[in-house]
């Protein structure tokens, strides 16, 4: 039996006729008007208007703080996210993360409503903590806030203390918290705040004795493959380490016929031991700003924010940092991985050299991609970072200005994908790099798209593959060069250039 679903069904004449007839009641804009405006949106004039806007935000590439807090806390063993505030937010965060990772994401909310808006959210938190503990038996409840709780000024520290005094939850239940107002910063800020909150809680007994270990903070990491890659590299080097917020097994759990609400994560005993480590290395500077301060100033521990190890040089820098910190050499096996990655770049350079690239994403991701692209001779052109600040702007601009392949690049902070749309029309590029939402740019501007970033909703399994380390380089080369080649095939389909060998 042939079944036609939406992909085919609505192309049939009976439906196209139906759509046409429906217009009688729609009072639609004329097709001339639509075509004219469409063309106008591609012009310099429109771009100027678009860049002149002061308030309007259209298709931004950023989410809000509690989402980042939630991703952070899921990376700890037996930890339940508790969101103080309105319940819809919690539902949204869970859906958003599930759509990306294709994994269950457990979290509870204190379901605050109008009465809490008047009287404060204390009662909701007391009952919420009691219920959540009884049902889901976590070893740690990580509390974050929605903007409702922030606007009315809920005091998490006191509320949680009161819950313990009133025996709603056991005294020894770990209860780190972070105030995560959605109207400040982005998901990166929330990750940072929650990481700091958890480390503050975990380290409250103070420094004991040196463990010799290295802490790794991956940052708002949406590639489970990246965390596995880091562990792989450190294991090859024989470096004892703790990944703080290890989401790899939580967001990529094996299917063995049982649903485990807490399928992995950083063991709490390791998190408690983090204060005793030799040093902490953060892979994403911009999601570790407050955590960096905390570790250096309160823990007095050595803290290094390395460039997000995307590309050869950044991976070299990461390994050198680890090597310096631990005194351990980089083994031949890793050298061989490097060799294979460089080999892949050399093999594919002819299709990437000189390619003009537009990209949008989080600051550390963009810095890493800029570095990688320039290593293989591609040319970053439009770099849009909705949640980028002046420090990012400066850092990216310096990186680009020091390199021949960065000479045509411009960095846009606090701009969105609708700005990027204008840029891609007025100054076209060969390749676009971004998350699933950038597919509208792919469609509108016909620019081939490489999906890298977050969220990735419309392709499966990409997040399982690392984009960092030397193995990550091979994946990046693979995705970019083969996107270029796919496009080349499509465009040369009816010409002699439709080659069998590329």
């Amino acid at each position: 039996m042939i079944v036609r679903d939406h992909n085919e069904l609505f192309k049939s004449p009976e439906y196209t006729e139906l759509f046409e007839k429906k217009k009688e009641f729609e009072s639609p804009c004329s097709s001339v008007d639509v075509a004219n405006v469409q063309e106008w949106t591609k012009t310099e004039e429109y771009k100027d208007k678009n860049f002149a806007r002061q308030v309007l935000v259209v298709n931004p590439a950023k989410a809000c703080q509690p989402l980042g807090a939630m991703l952070c806390a899921t990376g700890f063993e037996n930890t339940l996210n508790f969101v103080q505030g309105a319940q819809g937010c919690c539902a949204y965060f869970r859906s958003h993360l599930s759509r990306h990772f294709k994994e269950p994401v457990a979290a509870v909310s204190s379901s605050m409503t109008e009465d809490a808006a008047v009287f404060g959210g204390l009662n909701n938190m007391l009952e919420g903590l009691e219920n959540a503990y009884a049902l889901y038996k976590p070893d740690m409840m990580a509390v974050s806030t929605t903007c409702m709780a922030e606007v009315i000024g809920d005091d998490l520290n006191n509320f949680i203390k009161e819950a313990k005094i009133k025996n709603k939850i056991p005294e020894d239940l770990a209860t780190p918290f972070a105030h995560t107002p959605s109207f400040v910063g982005s998901h990166l800020t929330g990750y940072d705040n929650m990481m700091k909150g958890i480390l503050l809680y975990m380290g409250k007994d103070g420094y004991k004795s040196p463990s010799g270990k290295i802490n790794i903070i991956p940052g708002f990491e949406t590639y489970t493959g990246n965390i596995r890659e880091i562990k792989h590299l450190l294991n090859l080097m024989g470096v004892q380490h703790t990944v703080l917020a290890d989401t790899s097994d939580v967001m990529d759990a094996p299917n063995n016929g049982t649903y485990k609400m807490y399928p992995g994560g950083t063991p709490l005993k390791d998190a408690k031991d983090a204060i005793n480590a030799r040093a902490t290395v953060a892979l994403q500077k911009y999601s570790s700003i407050k955590t960096a301060e905390f570790i250096s100033e309160v823990w007095k521990q050595k803290f290094e924010a390395v460039p997000y190890p995307i590309g050869i040089k950044n991976t070299d820098a990461f390994l050198d940092t680890i090597s310096k910190l631990t005194g351990k050499p980089i083994p031949q096996e890793i050298e061989d991985e490097r060799g294979r990655a460089v080999d892949a770049m050399v093999d594919s350079h002819a299709y990437l050299h000189g390619k003009r690239v537009a990209m949008v994403g989080d600051p550390d991701l963009l810095l890493g991609l800029i570095s990688f692209l320039m290593e293989v001779g591609a040319e970053p052109v439009h770099i849009v970072c909705t949640n980028g600040d002046k420090f990012f702007n400066e850092e990216a601009s310096v990186l680009l200005s020091e390199n021949f392949f960065g000479r045509n690049a411009k960095v846009y902070i606090r701009k969105d994908m609708w700005h990027l749309r204008s840029l891609m029309f007025t100054e076209p590029v060969d390749l676009l790099i971004g998350n699933s939402y950038t597919k509208f740019l792919w469609k509108d501007t016909q620019t081939p798209l490489v999906r890298i970033g977050f969220p990735l909703f419309d392709r499966h399994h990409l997040h399982r593959y690392p984009i960092i380390g030397y193995n990550g380089v091979i994946n990046l080369v693979n995705w970019t060069v083969n996107t270029v080649l796919d496009e080349m095939d499509r465009k040369s389909m009816y010409s002699p250039s439709f080659d069998a060998i590329r």
Binding site: M1, V3, R4, D5, H6, F10, Y15, L18, F19, K22, F25, E26, P28, D33, V34, V37, Q38, T41, R53, L56, V57, V58, P60, K62, A63, C64, P66, L67, A86, G88, C89, A91, Y92, F93, S95, H96, S98, R99, P104, S111, T113, E114, E127, G128, A132, A134, L135, Y136, C147, M148, F183, V184, A253, N255, N256, G257, Y259, W418, Y437, F440
Partner: protein, 476 residues
Amino acid sequence: MKTDIERTQKIIDEVLEVYPEKTRKFRTQHIKPNDPSGECGSMCAVKSNIKSRPGVMTIRGCAYAGSKGVVWGPVKDVIHISHGPVGCGQYSWWSRRNYCNGTTGIDSFVAMHITTDFQERDIVYGGDKRLAEICREIKELFPLAKGISIQSECPVGLIGDDIEAVARNMTNELGIPVIPVRCEGFRGISQSLGHHIANDSIRDHVLGKKTIENKTSYDVNLIGDYNIGGDAWASRKMLEEMGLRVIAQYSGDASLNEISIAPSAKLNLIHCYRSMNYICRHMEEEYGIPWVEFNFFGPTKMYQSLRKVASYFDDKIKENAEKLIEKYTPIMNNVIETYKPRLEGKTVMLYVGGLRPRHVIGAYEDLGMEVIASGYEFGHKDDYSRTHAEMKEGALIFDDVTGYEMEEFTKKLRPDLVGAGIKEKYAYHKMGVPFRQMHSWDYSGPYHGFDGFPIFARDMDMTINNPAWKLIRRKR
């Protein structure tokens, strides 16, 4: 008490044992064995539309989700501002699959995320000034937008902004309707109040603002169909085929004009009673337009519904309905003959919103399947009263189920298929229980209408009978 009811009650009691006492008492009232006869009385009455208990992992969303996500979001030629911080609009962006025709960013804005992106200064000083400015910028950059709706997020109501005044001023200044919607997420207890608030704003600012010249006695509105995967189009096709004229879709693939002219219709056909009964009742009181509920899932319900809808019209329409049924019966029978042997006897557990917990039961039954448990995220009493007769005695009915309860009931009832949402989906994959998203049709659809049923049957079959489930090696 009857055996099946007793057996289910025992399961419910066991599952709820773990709760703290207060919450257990509360949840007990929301989970009941089904009693179609009504003899079980208040013992079997499901409480609903009450605040979720904190911390239990409710699956519910908020009023903003009900307004921006459900009712207003699909109105395609209006720009919907997610007014407040960036998150709400981000998480609800281009995700509900309410299909529409048009050119995104030019004359259609459904798949866009437009926000005021509140910063701390907006919380401190208020967002009204910037709201006015954003309306002007929208008019400038999206000149073909037919209107603007302001979808309020939590802070707006908490800081005391006067978005109504801004909307009034901007309507005058810009010459297009600017519609304030007070759907802050903390209002009410679920998406449900958001539906109501959105409908009220449509009533106050859109409905009846326009009329049509060439009215016919066959003019109807298709209400409460959000065109998920094209549902409303499949339904519209049937209605047109039986000789009715759909003058407004409300709100899947809707234009502002259609909603404006809706009071010109003779009859309102309502699919999702939960989210849209408000506007039907209003049009009945204000314009004397009767309304009728119908169900376009699965042939049995479709045949019944077509006859029910036709009964409001003359013999011509009644004959057309019969002809339509006659035309499609062999096609539907073919679907059943193909898929029923593969699905017969399979049991289903549902937990969805709106109309689906009861409306899809017939479609499963057409395929020889049985819905043994069902529940609503944000149902009211009138939803449950419409559900009892659709299910067997002793079937499980749950209201605002929690993550814990769903998992436990699954272990005890062992359904062959579970239909719920994205938050539940992957937990079921891990359990090895075949699962379909029944909000978004799991990126498939349409499921409504004669064109939808084959897709529904195919999808249930592919998910229940996919060989990959058998590869799961369970830990002993």
